[in-house]
Symmetry: C2
Amino acid sequence: MKEFRVIAVEGLPEIRAGDDLAALIAERTELEDGDAVVIAQKAVSKVERRVVSLDGVEPSPRARALSGDRDPRQTEVILQETARVVRSRPPLLIAQTHHGFICASAGVDASNAPEVGSVVLLPADPDASAARLRARFAEVTGREVAVLVSDSFGRAWRQGTTDIAIGVAGMSPLLDLHGERDPAGYELHATTIAVADEITGAAQLVMGKLDRVPAAIVRGLNLTGEGSAQELVMPPERDLFR
Amino acid sequence: MKEFRVIAVEGLPEIRAGDDLAALIAERTELEDGDAVVIAQKAVSKVERRVVSLDGVEPSPRARALSGDRDPRQTEVILQETARVVRSRPPLLIAQTHHGFICASAGVDASNAPEVGSVVLLPADPDASAARLRARFAEVTGREVAVLVSDSFGRAWRQGTTDIAIGVAGMSPLLDLHGERDPAGYELHATTIAVADEITGAAQLVMGKLDRVPAAIVRGLNLTGEGSAQELVMPPERDLFR
């Protein structure tokens, strides 16, 4: 039977700036070659000091206009992380980040921030974060794993968030079936599967939001290869929903 | 350690109209209370005879205009399944179905159709399909399981499809954390998680497209309760992307 397992990495301490996240995770689980280690964006961002204190942030008039009942200083930080505002209905602000991701508040979040009055940004380069973590896992454990940095994104037309991959290392995030034919000879219609987003979504089911479980292992898919979360970003010319 | 498993249901025969799908699945796996049984939409649709032969379909002028290089008879069937055209760039057609789902081709698909010259529609009422299958699993096995009918949908802004839930029985598809606070006292930002879509996405990873594996078991989440895939459809007044 083809099967895989999704295992929470429990017992991690509160993550702090500069922590050796890979070592902390590796101490609490026995990694195997081909595992995916899914790590919540917020843990990666904290380690990488992507935390901004709102003290001293001066909101622009545009930030004030887009804030609704949100702290306008937080909106100012959101706009600094924003390449393009996609939709806004204050305080809701859907933005394209400098990385190209489209999400609420350009990924800027106050919940689970290290202290009240600060907000957490997405990693500056989540693919590079994933690659560094993957290299560190190899150093610490001798194992070749894939690393996925995940975040909870809303979707157009669907209620609720799912966790998707914003950083990828050690696997291809897309499975391309293009040109494959089904048993009746038809070329497959949905030809590319976003496996990285399905893996991070699966990991979310054991990570939760309140449980302080910022990482999970997905074991049994025998992941290898290379890839980038940028492959998951729809190119503008194919995007009907810009 | 909190963990769960995702297990392919292998060895199923080609699914045909009128098959007892729950019995076929139950024969090939030992179900447990609290399992989710994820079943591909196409298998459910075939059992329910939601297959249309293109012979005798007369394409309207609108169907011809929206077809591009697709068979205009197929486009005619798509328009019959469509409540509202959301975007079109022929042959690409993003439609809201009569159920409220927004997806390519209103869910009409030629791949994996029982024969060349026919197309498969979404189930008429996928929640009812899930509920019937759930009841039949209880009859055949004595087990209380959740049933999710899944389909591969594209997403705005992201490359690749993920499998999402179009029919739900025996669980709540959304996990609502509204009002919960993180350890620093902040109310959680992303308050509702689309767990049903994360479960179907996980199942897709063992189901594949070519492997004739139309079902998977997700074991260890101990699912209970009631719910409908309609809860996953964004209400128009909250939808910024209509």
